[in-house]
């Protein structure tokens, strides 16, 4: 029997449309990335996408879910792209594959598939990779040794030796190491002025990639695909702690802008902490989630042993989501100001 139910009208929206808009919002960042480091990242995106779709299809088949309906929803592609963009651009191809497989098979499908995963799959992939392969995950190509595309391909596919010249640290990591080595005798200003790693705001070139992510994120916000709560609370959390420590000791702590335009801040703010599935759902909950993730990310990246803290911060907050949601339910119509 054909049971039709109201409402009979529907807005022209779908999961696929949401995901495609997220992918579109990543394009400016990808463009800036390519401009900065050459087309290597495109190769990684292709590898990640192909692997994600294959893994998704295999899992859907295994779990007996309709392939046609789910494979096209775009969610696997979003995970894949975020992994490709979060991993070092010249990481070996299998590292990306390991990350994507872990994200799609374990973090997503074994938890129930689309909409059911408590943890952000891309961040799970990042955490697994950085814990298991810390050296590979810390090798970032310096922006000025612009190797040719062929060399990049050789590196990605393991056809050339991974010589040190091709790998450095991220600007964020470099600063931390320099400060540690200086043991309080060098100031942030001196390090930034002395090395060519840094530009106007943060890492030279990288600051533009971050700005492009910001642009894409603002577009998502303007399109109402994401709400402003989590991203701005995240940025606020980082800025507040960075600002406080910078005001207290500007020689040993980089300014807030440096932190906002370094590492995974912008990508995390607009594409990770905004993940609806693993994030909070109430407005107040989103603020708490974003702010706490920002604070944790800052603390881990400045005081912890990892080059950046976004992944761990987000995963830790993912655990807290049910609790935060439970205690931040807004009062309903007619019940405001009542217990």
């Amino acid at each position: 029997m054909n049971f039709s139910t109201p409402p009979y009208l529907a807005q022209n929206v779908s999961v696929q449309r949401v995901m495609l808009q997220v992918l579109a919002a990543l394009l400016p960042g990808i463009a800036a990335y390519v401009w900065l480091l050459g087309p290597a990242v495109l190769v990684q995106l292709v590898v990640a996408s192909a692997c994600a779709l294959a893994a998704e299809a295999a899992m859907l088949r295994l779990l007996g879910k309709p392939l046609a309906l789910y494979l096209g929803d775009g969610s696997a592609l979003v995970t894949a792209w975020l992994i490709a963009l979060a991993f070092p651009p010249l990481a070996p191809w299998w590292l990306i594959v390991v990350g994507v497989l872990f994200a799609i098979v374990i973090a997503k499908h074994l938890y129930g598939g689309l909409g059911q995963n408590p943890f952000n799959p891309a961040m799970i992939a990042f955490a697994v990779a950085i814990v298991s392969f810390p050296a590979l995950m810390s090798q970032w190509p310096p922006v000025d040794t612009n190797a040719g595309f062929v060399d990049q391909l050789a590196l990605i596919f393991g056809l050339a030796p991974r010589i040190d010249a091709m790998s450095g640290a991220t600007p964020l990591d470099a600063l931390k190491t320099a400060l540690k080595l200086g043991e309080g005798s060098v100031s942030v200003a001196k390090i930034v002025a002395d090395t060519s790693t840094y530009g106007q705001l943060a890492g030279r070139g990288w600051e533009w990639v971050a700005a492009a992510y910001l642009l894409g994120g603002l577009w998502l916000w303007q399109r109402k695909v994401i709400s402003a709560h989590a991203p701005f609370a995240f940025i606020g959390g980082i800025a507040l702690f960075a600002g406080a420590l910078w005001l207290w000791n500007p020689a040993q702590f980089a300014n807030p802008l440096f932190h906002l335009f370094s590492g995974g801040t912008m990508l995390g703010a607009f594409f990770i902490v905004t993940d609806p599935v693993s994030g909070c759902t109430t407005p107040k909950g989103k603020l708490i989630f974003g702010f706490a993730a920002g604070v944790l990310a800052y603390l881990i990246r400045v005081f912890g042993g990892y080059p950046d803290g976004v992944a761990f911060a987000v995963l830790l907050l993912n655990i807290c989501v049910p609790l935060i949601d439970l205690y931040t339910q807004p009062p309903i119509f007619g019940m405001k100001g009542k217990p």
Partner: protein
Amino acid sequence: MLQLFKFKGGVKPDTHKAPSLQQPIGRAPLPPRLIVPLHQSIGGIPNPLVEVGEYVLKGQCIGSADQWLSSAVHAPSSGTVVAVEERVAAHPSGLPTLSVVIETDGRDQWIERSPVDYQRLAPERVREILRDSGVVGLGGAVFPSHAKLAAAKSVAMDELVINGAECEPFMTCDDMLMRERAEEIVRGAGIFRDLLKPKRVLIGIEDNKPEAVAAMSAAVRELEADYAEFEVIAVPTRYPAGGAKQLIRVLTGKEVPASRRSPEMGVQCFNVATAYTAWRAIAHGEPVISRIVTLTGNVDAPRNWEALIGTPIRDFVALGTPQADTNSYLMGGPMMGFELPSLEAPLVKASNCIIAGSKTLFPPALPEMPCIRCGACAQVCPHELAPFEMYWFARARNFGKTQEYKIFDCIECGCCSYVCPSHIPLVQYFRFAKSEIWSREREKNKADAAKARFESRNEREERDKAEKAARLAKAAAAKKAAPVVSESTASAAPAAAAAVDSASEAQAAKQAAIAAAIERARVQREAVQPKNTDALTIAQRKEIEQIEARRAPLQGATSSTDTASQPSPKEEQ
């Protein structure tokens, strides 16, 4: 200018209202047969007052309200009753409902109408007239209006809201009614005002109906002397601004939660068409036998029609000439209406709009995907609920949790389903959860009642046992005492005689008490009986006649004074 408030959430679907606004309200032709369901409002099911073969006049009451929360039903035209039987109803279930089928004679002859000057009547009487005229909420909820026309005892009525918002897409019946019959709407609202005595009367109309706003404003201006506290207000167009609670919020800033009734907060709300029918009922003596119905959608001639209640929908839709690819018909708007299970169903008081649907107009629902917790539903929920949370719990059949998330505050407006990117029929899940909760509650009540019955029976048995034991003990004690008495007086006979005497005295007293009780019961019965025979259904009347017929010979034989003194219901009529 009044300060307006906002309600959160809401959506803005395409309105599709223009096509049915091109023509004035037409008078739908008299169909050869009218099918009038008796149950057309919230509350009790009216008793049928007519039987097959009876000739009825237009406006004659054919179903009387069976309780306070109920509403009378009338013959929409003159003709002969050809059936009183179960007929398919305009309801999503397609289940039949007891209906009176009238073959119209084309004369459309009115019963004698008796307009009243309501200002000289007691409010109680006005409410009775409204009930007996079948005035119910014509916005679609069909709640008996008279039951809403009493202010709360402890709270003064601040505002009376007259709802002309009409936020559902496609629907234009209220719009046209306001354009063409504004004065009568205002006068009807005046009746409500006089019963409720509010400080202000606010007529809210969505600002996409400037003609209706102008017409209503002009009517209020013209009638000014008696309607000084009336104000016509254009409210922003946003579905569901026409929801009673949303309109109250927009016009007064008050938020009425599900747990409270609006008069407790000093506000009450009526639809414009309800006000219009109230005026017709009071000032013209015309019960509700027709209403304005929008016929639109996939038809060649969309228009508003004043159609008789009971008009078969098949006859009605023919007026608009449905296009060839029409595959469904909706009753109500596309947001909260439902697909008609059959065109044999008749128009009822709740039928504000009939929309012919097609694949292009209402594309089939897309396959349901898992919820991604995007929260779009929560953003558009006008009651600020968390639909996705309720959905998770409804799916998991964790109904206690759905209640914690206030599922009964959900008005089923459909905004959540409208915006859901996963195409989840959220409203269906909520209806499912609500009906499960209701049925569980019914079961529980039943079980509780059974338990109470069982316990009281046990108690009674215990009590009886105890009493019996006490009686036996007493008797034994008396037996023991008797010899003592005989011993002391040394003459047993008189004592025994005295004992016998006292026993027969007690017996006589008992007899008298029984007789008195029977008499009391008889008097009581007599006092009550006329009320019971006031509005008997045809079936009941027949049954009584049969019983009386059987009883007559017996009565002749025994000529019991008791039964003879009882007036038979037949005599009384």
